[in-house]
Amino acid sequence: MGSVNWSTFGIVTLIVAVIAIIFAVLIVIVYKLCHVEEDKTVEVISEKLAGANCGGCGFTGCNAFAKALAEGKANLSMCGPTANENKAEIAKLLNLPFTAEEQAYAVVKCAGGLNSKNKFEYVGNEGCIAQIAFMGGKKVCPNGCLCGGTCASLCPYHAITPSKDGVMVVNKALCEACGVCAKKCPKHIIELIPKSSKVYVACSTTCKGKEVVNTCKVGCISCGLCEKACKYGAIKLENNVPVIDYKKCVGCKACVSACRRKVIKEI
């Protein structure tokens, strides 16, 4: 260890300080010359937003979303996490029509995991997007959850965890309906449903009943029993799976007891 050369040290400090001061003064001058008044409404709006910066709206963050709102490029329904009262206030500020929407939350519409067969054994990057690049993923079912956890890693609220079968499950209490998972899931099997709903369909397969019987223990075989069991006409089979119309559903759970393969689940 050599001794500290104090004179050099002093010169260095002095030079750096002088340069710093000169540039600080210059920056202040330029700032005064080029100052732009920022729009105050944007500031107010971003204060009212949830401020989670989850990116569910498709903008880079709550500030960008507030700016887009002020410019009329976005609408309030794009934001999930913000509370209805705050949304109403923003709508009032911007003179926009606003109707309160019910808080939603995300469900993974698959219960496969270990219950459904694989085409091959996949070794490699665990992420779903990487998996799907190789022959559309390892599952025989074209719409089965790949269990790679891309949604779980992207969820800004850490609401998604794998179940014991490996399928991703959303924690209703933590979910804020930002919709990031639904957008990023390469299989498109995550859906936002109203928080008050009592049932959901845990299968999204497009396969016919016979194929499903051979490949997945918990897949929908499109028998149509749920459709018949529903007295309110809320369930319709579309592309081999039941689709629930949550506006008509009253939560009687007749479909849950009618389903032989336990595809329709209670929440």
Binding site: T8, I11, V12, V16, I19, L33, H35, V36, A133
Partner: protein
């Protein structure tokens, strides 16, 4: 006059900052999606590079060298570059909001753009720069330094504009699914670099 031609050929082609020295790759790949913002980015970098050379060269030669504290060059240079970029950002926000929005996040990134620090480091390395321009080390002066900075920036602009043109064309052509987007851009960059490699051979 001969030196000027040497500077142009050297800075723009032989020692091109992007495709030969691999400096400033971040904006090169990030902002080259469309022609207008690529040109804007290129010109902003050119401006910053020229100004940087204009300020760093005299500070190095007339302050740091006589005081024998050349070792703080990087701190001082980063200081100067960051301040210049800050000022340009504010000026752009005031006078050209469209360009400001188009460049977005990449504008503050010029601060850490290695091409800018690279040119500041290159022009003070009198032996190397004199060799490139074809003069003796003693003949090196501020005029050459600023010119070199200017043309190095123009070389950057040149390449990023070529790249943006190619990428705009590629976006409209049917590309294999696996190569779409970033991979094909990397391959394009590779071919541009290979084309520039010819200048090193002559």
């Amino acid at each position: 006059m001969a030196e000027l031609i040497m500077i142009i050929v050297s800075a723009v082609f032989i020692k091109n900052f992007v495709v030969v020295q691999f400096l400033g790759i971040c904006p090169f790949l990030g902002v080259s999606k469309d022609f207008r913002s690529a040109l804007g980015m290129g010109l902003a970098v050119t401006f910053v590079m020229t100004l940087t050379c204009l300020i760093t060269y005299p500070i190095y030669t007339y302050i740091l060298v006589p005081l024998k504290i050349e070792f703080i060059e990087i701190i001082v240079f980063i200081f100067i570059i960051a301040s210049i970029v800050q000022m340009i950002e504010m000026a752009l926000k005031r006078f050209s909001p469209t360009l400001y929005n188009a460049m977005g996040i990449y504008l503050p990134l010029i601060t850490t753009n290695c091409a800018v620090l690279g040119v500041a480091e290159l022009v003070i390395d009198t032996v190397q720069i004199a060799d490139l321009i074809g003069i003796t080390a003693a003949q090196m002066n501020m005029g050459f330094a600023v010119l070199y900075g200017l043309f190095a920036g123009l070389g950057f602009t040149f390449v990023i504009v070529i790249m943006s043109g190619l990428r705009e064309k590629i976006a409209r052509t049917p590309v294999s699914k696996h190569l779409k987007g970033f991979p094909i851009s990397m391959i394009t960059a590779c071919f541009i670099a290979m084309a520039f490699y010819v200048f090193m051979l002559i």
